[in-house]
Subunit: 234 residues, 2 copies
DNA sequence: CGAATACTTGATTTCAGTCAAATCCCGTGG
DNA sequence: CCACGGGATTTGACTGAAATCAAGTATTCG
């Protein structure tokens, strides 16, 4: 972990369009001044369950996975944070120890905003509070939906869904591959299944011409059918 | 659904100690004035997925289950709302259609607070916004934990956990029974399993002297062991 | 009191997890 | 540049937890 030149919040597109969008210009200046910033390589752990966080994080570049660790050490990926997303704010707000971990998936630049700043913003700018509230509500909806699906869908259905989620979250490269590289194990930890099951199902999907595989890269060849398999009706 | 005499928010203990605790006295008067209130019997549906909500609810008495409905119509219970708890606020905040349903489990008195009131409170009282934010964060933690557990624990483990959760949420009667009556199906819909599986496991638990059964009533006879089975380490 | 709903038990099936072994791939150090 | 080692991936065989199906009993409620 090493310091880099700190990107200005004032000119950060993600800040202007993201969760901080309602803050006035001078608050963004304060923010730039008060925050820290680090360049982090894949594999770097930002925090872990039971750590105490004195602030929260905002991704300027790269991808971070947020996950919880089960009894046997098996991870369950809760969500990803990419450029413009914040994470780690829950334990700050609740004043409790972190109940998830954060690890860099793709080399990242991550800013750190102290807890005191967060509470100042919340007290001073009610609209910022409402925006934060809406953000957590959206996350809550997602989490509740995930509970339903893990409880009621098959692994096959959930895998199809995860592939589509990855497309929506990270988009596709020019060649049509998912614009994110995950290990099979990481995919399994999203789906909530064993690594071997993901491997088997991916190769079934390949046989059925739903996807194409090239190492870790995955191309979605038949999105309609994947949606049908995943029981997704938008 | 019929109107009852509207309980005053000013004298409601739950209001004084719950999510509205930071509001000044005159706001509670406004609240009493602006809200509605209804007496609802078990089985009554308060709202369903895809309904548009123009306000949110506060339980004055009774128990309401919040759940999502899966493809085959099978419910997944997300949580319960009992006296002092609010629900339905997420869709109000996000302005989206409800993504869960709410149904009365135990005859209830439920107040209804209009969306406009909610937004006024949020804009006028930053501390109320922070309290709301903390509430959603706590729910979010719970939801994320549930994702991990449904993904990684066995049905047996989850059932033990659910029994303990019911104890913590609703307490015990004088005779030591869980102070809530659920059908086997409802328990299954909490655990995320088939009704038959719950029945089989409950009778196993009974054989193992972990619980005693008397119709729908359940007594926890060996909490330590239930905690061990559920892998709960507080 | 009768119908509907809830509960229970047994038999069977199946999805997905575990274990094991082989191969592939990638970064490191010589 | 290449060999090596360790992790990631793949495939196969087996197992087992839990779902489904089916049939009967018990409760509840109008």
């Amino acid at each position: 972990m090493r310091n880099t030149s700190i990107p200005s919040c004032k000119t950060c597109l993600f800040v202007r369009n993201g969760i901080f969008k309602s803050l006035p210009r001078e608050e963004l200046e304060n923010l730039t001044y008060e925050k820290g910033c680090n360049f982090l390589r894949r594999g770097n752990v930002i925090y872990q369950e039971n750590n105490r966080l004195n602030g929260f994080y905002c991704v300027s570049k790269g991808v971070v996975k947020i996950y919880k660790t089960g009894l046997e050490g098996k991870e369950q990926i809760i969500r990803f944070a990419k450029a413009g997303n914040i994470f780690g704010y829950r334990s700050v707000l609740s004043g409790e120890l972190a109940c998830s971990s954060a690890k860099v998936i793709e080399d990242s630049v991550v800013c750190f905003i102290p807890a005191t700043t967060l509470f100042r913003l919340l007290k001073k700018h009610p609209q910022f509070g409402i925006d934060m509230l809406q953000l957590t509500c959206r996350e809550l909806d997602d989490a509740n939906t995930q509970i339903l699906e893990i409880a009621q869908k098959t692994v096959r259905e959930r895998l199809a869904e995860v592939l589509l989620l990855l497309k929506d979250t990270f988009g596709l490269t020019e060649e049509g591959f998912l614009n994110i590289q995950l290990t099979r194990e990481e995919i399994a930890n999203m789906v909530g299944t064993a690594t071997e099951s993901v491997i088997r199902l991916l190769s079934e999907f390949k046989q059925d011409k739903l996807i194409e595989l090239s190492g870790k890269k995955i191309k979605l060849a038949n999105i309609q059918k994947l949606m049908r398999i995943g029981n997704i009706y938008v």
